[in-house]
Every structure is written in structure tokens, then in C-alpha cells.
Symmetry: C3
């Protein structure tokens, strides 16, 4: 059997002459993931009072975790220098509830037009929050299981790696030290009975970079279709780098119009390069609402060269109304291609 | 993250030395699609008299339409010069009923053997109608929403881009100015209760090209399994090019054995190159049966170079028993790779 | 439409300079498959005594069979010479019950770390049996419909080409003429009602090659979770090549803890190169349990060059308690890429 080998470094040199091309990139990662008292929801029962109680079965706390991600990108450039591109992602993950594997799947397509500092995305797009500088900060662990945003409950427009995602539009414009973003998702639900419910979402952002510091602010809201006030989210982030040290700050006003999760959310994260190959990571996220998720985690990355690295993390998840905290940890290898 | 870039033009030069290769091609398109009074069927109710009435909910008339299509082709050539190839298509489309996106999917595989003027396809194949010269003519719009064949209701063997398709065989032989095609689909239904229903389909075609004109005729029929006469279709097409002008004519005898759609169908289409980059398109399709779909549409394509173009169309769908006509329009960009 | 051609032989020369790469390989095959009295199970009925009887409908005995298989492999090599790789397989097959086609699908991902003679696989892996030298021997037919292992009923850890597979680990170590393998599958079932059932599987193997002969032995067992004895399997294989002749021997102790299938299974296979392009194949498999499947088959492969070949086989399936034997045959083309 002849193998068709596609050499990456060799071909990059010839890419500049190509009018149309298909690119493949992505990463694989695998290792051990631990979640304290991991359970699998296998069904639900209804009590005499009408409450629905999920039936759970114990899973193994330590399971084999993995992800294979392949981005399929197609690009063309017009005579006038406008770039058109499309992306579909192929991804396989383990089933974290059962510890068994899932088959790989394909997500919804994203389309882009890029010209100078202007970028327009359509389809399965990331919105202004999902694209916001330092929103995610330094996430921790092989699986990025903890982040500074953990207290946020607003459901913003995000790129879906394993589903169809939204069918929305995102605009981005960069000029000098400033960048602006905005998205609009004409979302429609069909609850049945001939009813159509609009749940349109929009968000906007502004980003300013001065020296080694980046500040960003974003606001978004969702049409509640007359059912009360429109849920909204406001986020302010700060991020900077000083030599081997990097840090981010995060503050959000999370107005989901649900008492248990409404309020202020905050967090921070840090990274430190310890020598040539090791990076230490820390993240903390929290919120003042009863059900806001609090995450504290430390982690490390050890670079093996060639795009491969060993990664791991250790953290605790908790909330004010949670009966107990949950310890989370993972360790494994990641290779980017 | 290193990106694996595959340069198309650079590699074409080396393809002649390859015994086995995997090719990627396709297109992306996205834009705005408008359908007057677009609805989504969300269920069905049964009236007191037993009639089943679909429940529909209003959708947005104007939605974001898109398609990402990637053909995965594998080819080998034997020492004797026989080419074997296989194709699977990866495609993502918007959901035109709801205005939301669908995840990308894979279709059924098609296999081919090619030697000289002879080609045999097996699996998810296009039959003699689907391969017929000028059957589709100049379809109009970013989404090709209108065509000269609109009055035809016969369900012929066609390539499926998003499903498994048929498991059939197609033969094509070209000699000089003549080409012949034939297909056979050994189709079987299992309605349950241990019953097996044969619904085999076959079709044949002949094509003759003289100077700048191509004439083609095709006939096909489907086994009704003893339930009345076998449905059949006869099609005659003519197509020609005169400088910047191209046109097609279409006549069909549509014998679906259903009164509301049986009869003659006809249509025509035209294209005109207006300057170096713009092409104008027109198409018209109709039939004499009460439920035959009539389509009239005009459109344009503006070439941006590099495989990219702007495309749009405007048309009206109607039929004799339709309560009202429906306006359809779209506009957007397409890029081929 | 520009086609992106990836030349295999031309690019292999450049692969050594690449740190990260995505490879595509696989095969296509298509032809005619015959199964005597082929049926499709369309449902089931329950008799008055409570027995469940499947409802079957006749299918065509001779159908169009096909497979398109594309392996997507991503590889990186660290500075220290450790290779990390991930594989997802895209595969489309015909539906052998109905004679219709299936759409292509993606399977679960497999991850590998390779360093010197050591290999560790994780995810959708093949276990020690599935990787055992000469376990499958010379399988016969375009579809490899018969093999020497036919009397084995133990369900060992195997790579899944069309499903998610297991989420397991496989180790392999080769040193000189010896090779050792072992796998562990932390398998969990959730039958509902909050119950968790462990069904862990493990297996080990040893292989020794002396001159032109390879001997291999493997043992594996599955945790019965307290429900009786643990099912197990012991396999011994021998394989050798003498010029144009190759042969394998197979003996297994199949302890599935099910009376109808427990006992000894045995088989053998042979291949003979008849001239430069033709290979003749024979296989026989059987067991002493009442329900053990007996397979006898002969086949041939004719090499067309360039990775393409014509293949076919003819065989008979039977068992002690089967009401009748079943003739099986196929013929078609395969092309590797």
C-alpha cells in the first residue's frame, strides 16, 4: 500500500504560488483524566410530587481522555487580494460521562472573507466574546478543564467544534492598536404547535493594545421574546506580559435573568516560563451568585519539541450551594500538527 | 502550530509521476437567500375526516444560506492504463426550513473504472439523466434555485451529495461525436412484514455533438412491482454556443403515472457574457400538468478571479393549482478550490 | 474548478524534512457479492409462548458490494525522536442485508506513541489478539469473507473501522526475534437503574520468529462481574513462507462460558504465487462446539499493477446445528492508495 505523505515544511515554500489550496491542521491529545465521584446520568424518575430526579450510575473516576482535532481549511484569493476561506472541523473526543470513546464527527461550516484589517465570518462563527482577547486567559490542564471565566453563565455566540453551531455573522476590524468586533445571530426556535420564537443574539467588543498590555471590553444580549428582560453580559479583560511572566484579569456582569446565577463574575490567570521548556499555569474564577462555579487550578506544560508537549493540571470546582467540592486532575501528551 | 499547506498549482506538475494519489477539490458559497413566506414544518395533525394536515411555523424569509463541499478523490492507474477511482463527498449546508445551520456530513461512495472512452461507475452514481448533456441547462442563483427541468416529477437515478444514494451501476461510452450512457439500479424496499418490493430503475441515453450544438435524448423507467404501469421519463435536450451567447432547449414526456404531474414538461435557458467578468443568466421551466412547477428566473455571475465570484438570482415559482406564486432570490459569494 | 492534486511518490522524498504531517492512505474495492438465500431482518414478532422470532424478508442474493476506506494519519516527532500519531478512519460500505449503500462514516480515534521497539496505543485500539501474527491468516475473497478463525466466539478487543471502538490501551515491545503485546480495556456498561457493570478485558501475547517461521501465543479474559466464570480465549498460531508458498496454522481454546460455542477451534490457510501476478488462496476454519461456524473457501488475486488488483473467492459456511449450509462468493476490483 502506497502512502500519500504530505510534508508540511517542504510545501509551505510553494504555497505562495497557489491560487487555491486545502490545508489540514489540528492536534491530538490523550492521557488520564480524573474527576472525583464521576457519574453517568442514565435516566430520570419522577417523584410523587412531580419533581424529576436524574438517575446516576457511578463511572470510573480516572478514565482515558483524548481528542483528535483536524481542521479542514479551503482558501482562495481573488485577483484583487480578497481572501475567501471555509473551514470544517473533524473531531473525536472520549465520552467523559462513561469513560468510553465517541466516534469522530464533523461540525458546521464557517466561511470567511478577509481584506486588509477587515474580516467577516458567516455560518458556525465565534462571536465577540468567544473572540475576545484574554477572555479565556490561561486555561489549565491537558483538557483545559479550568478557566477564569467559570462564574459566567450567559450563553453567548460561540464556535461549535462538535455540533452545527449557530448560523450567524461576525465582523472584525483592526486599525492600529485598536480592534472592534461585532456579531449577530438570527436565532429561531420552533417549540411546536406552529409557534416561532425569536431568540436573536448580538454582541460587540473593543480592544486596545498599549505596549505589552491589552485591554478589552465586550457587551452582548439575547432577545427574550417578551418573556421578561433580555439576558445580557458585560465583560472587561486585561492581559499583559512581562518577560517570562504573563497574567490576565477578568470581570463580568452576568445578567442572565436567573437569580441563582446573576451577578458579578471575576477571575485571573497567570503563566510563568520556568526555563526553556517548562511553563507553569494558574487560574482562578468565581462569582457572587449562589450557583456560580468557582474554579482554582494549577498546571504545567513541558515542551518536547516538534509540536509535542506533556501537559497536566490539578484543580478544585465548587459553588456556594454545592453539597461538596470536586477535585479534578489530568495528565497526558498533546501534539500539534 | 504548524500548518500543513497543500499548494494546488505547484503540485499539479508532479502528478504525472504519481501511481496513487488523493485529491481534494470543492467549493464554498455563502450569502443571503430569500423565499417569500418561508415556513418550517414542525409536525402534523389529523382532522376528524382523517386527513393529515402539516403544522407549519413561520421562518425568516431572508436567511443566511451556505454550502461547504469537499470532494475526496482517490485514484490509481494500473500498468495497463486502466484508471480506478473512488469519491466521497463531505458537505455542509444550511437548513433552509429553519434558517439554522446543519453539521457537515459524508455521502455514499462512488467507484469508477475508466479506460479510453469507456467509463463504468458503481455505488452512489449519477444515471443517464443526471449525466445528460444540457439536462440542467443554465441554472440560476447562488443556490441554483431555478432550472429548465422544473416541470419534471419522475424520480430518476441521481448522485446524492448528502445521503447514501443508490447502489447502482452507470456505463458511459464515447466514440467520436457520439456518447452513450446507461444505468441500472437494483433497488429494493422492505416495507415490513417480511415483504420485499423490487423498484428497479434503468435509463439509457445518446448524445451527438455537431459543430457548436449538442443534441441528447434519454429514456428511463422504474419497475412498479405490479402496482399499475411502470413510471417512465423521456427527455430531449438541445444546447449550443455562439460566441458570448449560450442557450439550451428542453422537452420531456413525464409519465409518472400520477395524474396531477403527468404530461409534457418543457423549458429553456440562456447565458450571455457581458464583458470580461460578468455573465447574465436566464431560465424558464414549465409543464402542462396541474401540479407541475413553473420557474422563471434571471441571474448574474461576476468573476472576481482566483476561483471566486459573486452570484445572485431572482425568480418566481408557481403552478396551476398553487394558491399563490412564490418569489425567490439570493445573492452571495462562491469560491472554487 | 482547480483540483488540488497530491502526488504520493513525489512527496515521499520530502517527508524526511517534515516535523508535522498529515497522511492519507486507504483502499477502494467494489464488485459483486453472492450469499445464498440472503435475507434482511425487518422486525420481530413475539409468539404466544413468549419467544421472539425475527421477521425476515428476502434480499437479492447477488448485490453490488463496495468499500471506500481513507485513513487520516497525523504524525509529529519530538526533538528526542519520540513519534506521536493519531488516526481517524473514514469508511463507506454497502449494506449487506438490503443491497443498498450506506453513507461514509468516521470511527473513533487511535493515538500512538512510538519510541524504538516500544509502541503504546490509546483509544480505539487493536488488542493483543487483533494484532497477533497470523491470527487472521490468509483470508479469502474481495471482502475477506472467510478465515481460519471462524470457530472463535470470544469477543476480544479489536479496532473498530466504523464505530467508536473501545477506549483502551495497547502495549507492544519488540526486541530481536521476540515481540510482546498486552492490552487493557476498562470497559463499563450502564444497564440503567443506576447500576454500573464492569466488563474489563485484558490480553497478552508473545511472538517468536525463527528463520521463515513465526510462532505466536496469546491469552485474554473478560471480567464477568460476578456473573459466573470469566470468559477467556487462548490462541496459538504458526505461520511460514517457503518460496512461493505461504501457510498458517491456528488452534484456540474458546472458553466463552456458553455451551453452544465453548471448546476448541482450529483452522489453517495457504497462499501460492502462481506466476508473476496471480496468487491462489485457501482457508479453513472450524470448531468442536455445536454452533461454531465452519468456513471453507478458495480464492485468487490477480495483480494489475499500480496498487490495483482483481480479487474473488468461493466458499461454504456451515455449523453442526445449522439447518443448511450457505454458499458465499464474490468477485471485484480493489485499488490501494
Amino acid at each position: 500500500m502506497k502512502k500519500v505523505l504530505f510534508a508540511s515544511t517542504a510545501l509551505i515554500a510553494t504555497a505562495s504560488v497557489a491560487a487555491a489550496e486545502v490545508n489540514f491542521s489540528g492536534y491530538g491529545r490523550f492521557g488520564i483524566g480524573y474527576v472525583e465521584d464521576r457519574v453517568n446520568v442514565t435516566g430520570a424518575t419522577t417523584t410523587a410530587s412531580g419533581a424529576i430526579v436524574p438517575t446516576t450510575a457511578d463511572s470510573d473516576d480516572a478514565i482515558l481522555v483524548s481528542r483528535f482535532r483536524l481542521n479542514i481549511d479551503a482558501n482562495v484569493e481573488t485577483d484583487g487580494g480578497v481572501e475567501f476561506s471555509g473551514r470544517v472541523r473533524l473531531q473525536a473526543d472520549e465520552d467523559s460521562s462513561t469513560g468510553e470513546a465517541n466516534s469522530a464527527g464533523l461540525n458546521g461550516a464557517r466561511f470567511s472573507v478577509i481584506y486588509g484589517g477587515l474580516r467577516v465570518d458567516a455560518g458556525n462563527v465565534a462571536g465577540a466574546f468567544d473572540n475576545l482577547a484574554n477572555y479565556y486567559g490561561n486555561e489549565v490542564g491537558l483538557e483545559l478543564f479550568a478557566g477564569q471565566y467559570s462564574g459566567v453563565n450567559y450563553n453567548f455566540l460561540a464556535y461549535s467544534s462538535t455540533g452545527s453551531g449557530a448560523n450567524a455573522v461576525f465582523f472584525q476590524y483592526a486599525v492600529g492598536d485598536f480592534a472592534f468586533g461585532a456579531s449577530y445571530d438570527q436565532r429561531t426556535f420552533f417549540p411546536g404547535g406552529g409557534v416561532t420564537t425569536d431568540a436573536d443574539r448580538w454582541d460587540v467588543s473593543a480592544t486596545y493594545t498599549f505596549n505589552n498590555i491589552t485591554a478589552a471590553v465586550a457587551y452582548g444580549q439575547t432577545d427574550a421574546s417578551g418573556a421578561g428582560s433580555d439576558p445580557s453580559l458585560t465583560v472587561l479583560t486585561l492581559g499583559g506580559e512581562w518577560g517570562d511572566f504573563g497574567g490576565t484579569l477578568f470581570v463580568a456582569d452576568d445578567a442572565t435573568e436567573v437569580t441563582a446565577t446573576d451577578g458579578t463574575a471575576w477571575g485571573l490567570s497567570a503563566s510563568y516560563n520556568l526555563g526553556a521548556a517548562t511553563t507553569l499555569l494558574f487560574t482562578y474564577g468565581d462569582g457572587n451568585a449562589d450557583a456560580d462555579l468557582q474554579q482554582v487550578a494549577i498546571g504545567a506544560i513541558y515542551d518536547l519539541g516538534g509540536g509535542a508537549s506533556l501537559r497536566g493540571g490539578l484543580g478544585v470546582n465548587d459553588c456556594d450551594v454545592c453539597s461538596d467540592s470536586t477535585m479534578v486532575a489530568d495528565f497526558g501528551a498533546q501534539f500539534n500538527f
